[in-house]
């Protein structure tokens, strides 16, 4: 049979191999679970089926759509083709304003309604999501 040294080396290589497989498996499983897709309101309109997973919706905050009460902030995200109503309770970032770009993260109730858990805005005052830029170009 093989010597002790060869056996030890074989065990070593095998254990590295298996732990690599395990790590790759873990990474991809975790990726699958924790990836958040980014969609525009139009893409959501065209969804064939609603996901129960968390998603991000990007667009502009529609003019005169922000509605505030004690615990909630409601507003409409638009890409100037389609709209999505967002219901949110929590804190909003500085650059959250009507007519500015916004990204809302949360869960879809139906194709017109999102319950957000987080609102993000870019630091840059001139920022506009690329999809919105394209939509604006098309409509002009």
């Amino acid at each position: 049979m093989y010597g002790k040294k060869v056996k030890l080396r074989a065990i070593f290589i095998l254990s590295i191999f298996f732990s690599l497989i395990l790590i790759v498996f873990l990474v991809f499983k975790s990726l699958e679970e924790n990836v958040v897709y980014f969609k525009s309101p139009t893409e959501i309109k065209n969804l064939t089926e609603l996901t129960s997973k968390k998603i991000r919706v990007g667009g502009m905050v529609k003019e005169k759509s922000i509605n505030v009460n004690q615990s909630e902030v409601n507003f409409v995200i638009t890409d100037f083709k389609n709209e999505l109503i967002v219901n949110y309770s929590g804190s909003v970032p500085n650059l959250f304003e009507e007519g500015k770009g916004v990204v809302a993260e949360g869960f879809l109730k139906d194709r017109n309604f999102l319950t957000a858990v987080k609102i993000l805005a870019k630091h840059d005052e001139n920022y506009m999501p690329p999809e919105v830029k394209e939509a604006l170009k098309e409509s002009n």
């Binding site: 990474v27 990726l31 958040v36 897709y37 009460n69 615990s71 902030v73 929590g90 840059d124 005052e125």
Partner: protein, 623 residues
Amino acid sequence: MLNQIGNYSLYIALLSSILIIIQSPTLLNQNNINVSGRIFSLISIQSLMIIISFIALIIAFIISDFSNEAVYTNSHTSKPLFYKITGTWGNHEGSLLLWLLVLSIFLLIFTITSKNLSNKYRILTLLFQEIIIAGFLLFILFTSNPFMSLFPIPNEGTGLNPILQDPALAIHPPILYLGYVGTSIIFSSSLAALISGSVNKTWAKHIKNWVLVSWIFLSIGILLGSIWAYYELGWGGFWFWDPVENVSLMPWFCLTALFHTILILEKREMFHSWAVILSITTFSLSMSGTFLVRSGILNSIHTFANDPSRGVFILCFLFILITLSIFIYFFYQNKIKNNFTKTYIVSKETAVLVNNLFMMFFLSVVLIGTVYPIFLEVVNNDKISVGPPFYHKLIVPFLIPFLIFMAIGPNLNWIKDKINKINLQQLLFFILSIIISFIFLKSVGISYLFSLPLFIASIFLFLITIKNFSVKKTNLSQKISHFGFSLFILSVLVNGVLAKEYSSNMKVGDERKFLNKTIKFESLKVYESKNYQSLEANFKISDKNNSINLKPEVRVYDQPQTITSEADIKSTLYSDNFLVFNILKNDGFYNVRYQIKPFMIWIWISIILISFGGILSIVKKNG
């Protein structure tokens, strides 16, 4: 006038770069003092020219010379002087010039401090470094020149993004860049050592300082960025796993691994190839970090100035450098003298190897999380982001064995140690940490599956690192850094488990109950400052025994028109009270967010301790 000075000095710097690159191959085999003297004067001229151009840019910003395009797009006459100066590197063009400045100054320092090393090694390092410098010069001159002239000259600039007008963020880029650019010296010198066949003790000893310097600056740079994000972004966290943050963390993992490897190389002449591979990787990660942040490829919450067309240049340059270094590695790798000495499994060498494996694992997780969205967008146009749970799920379980290894490893001997060294004393500490974590988790009422082993491991490490101060064998700087790290993990854990948050929309005079506290929105006043208008709110937070007042602000800048929130934070040794508010609409509601962040200050202190260990190690060796 300033534009011309800047431009010409950059061209002269490029010329000296080319001269050095052309001359160096012929000088390789000569051992002539005059030769290195000539190279030295060329390098000095180059550094001088780059310093002149950088000063020219600073002056252009100070006197608001709007004939300069970079000044016009990033400055404004009403900006305070301090932010005029720091605005120099707050934009793409200026920040690249800063990169270049640090590159050339580091090279100058390298040339001066490496006089007693072999000629071949020095010239080769210079050669590689000059290739990088020439690449950056070309990049700056042809795609992002900070000295572009504008005509007709505008009367007023467009201003700097107010969120960047902040003291921590003003010094954050230079410090971070010192760390990034330091890795370029490590890269060049490791390739030079590989070719000249001198990857050995002497090289390890020499390069160790550079590894330490880059590591210290990188750590402090990351710290400053975190502190800024904590109080300026209003989210109340210090790390968001945002791609822009991740790209600074990746070289940090790599540098930490490299530093430990270099120690082994110096003491025991092992892991030669691994040290070279790590050096190449570290620099590649630093370069791609700059590239990813500046190119706009990353779908990040905080990307500032960006322009995708520029990215292509850095990408090509990076590609050439990496290919070059891989070729060099495979051609010269057999030159490494592998005087293999027998080492046993239970030894300090193994401990360092284990450290490296963990670092590489953490690095891969962060790398995959950062790059996967880019990959997916290219492949099937899906836009995704990878959230914090991804990182937590993958890093936290591996943190437990990592912390335990970190507690045991440093106390092992070189070459060979006995397993029963993991002795009664350590066992006692382990039992103690089980008891402490159990009592702690019970008292705060948390029974997560992961919390208990994680707390046990980190308290164990904490106790062991404290105990190690009484052992004379190892050096003090290592003890401080390792203690800092254990403190860091512990504070982050406590902070994560005990943090409380409340948000609501309030009008002036409103009162809300949260836990056992009352939050009262007492008043709101307006005042004018130099380049902004401020709304200062006054909140009173009271419980049975005492009350504190928090005064967050909302600032309305007019150039460019932007609103920023300034959180008010009251820090004590136990916890931070964090309050930030935001204008919602004109009907009187303000969005208020109140957070209690336990042990926040210890997170900052522990990172300072970690870096301080590094500083001490440099000072002690040279003093």
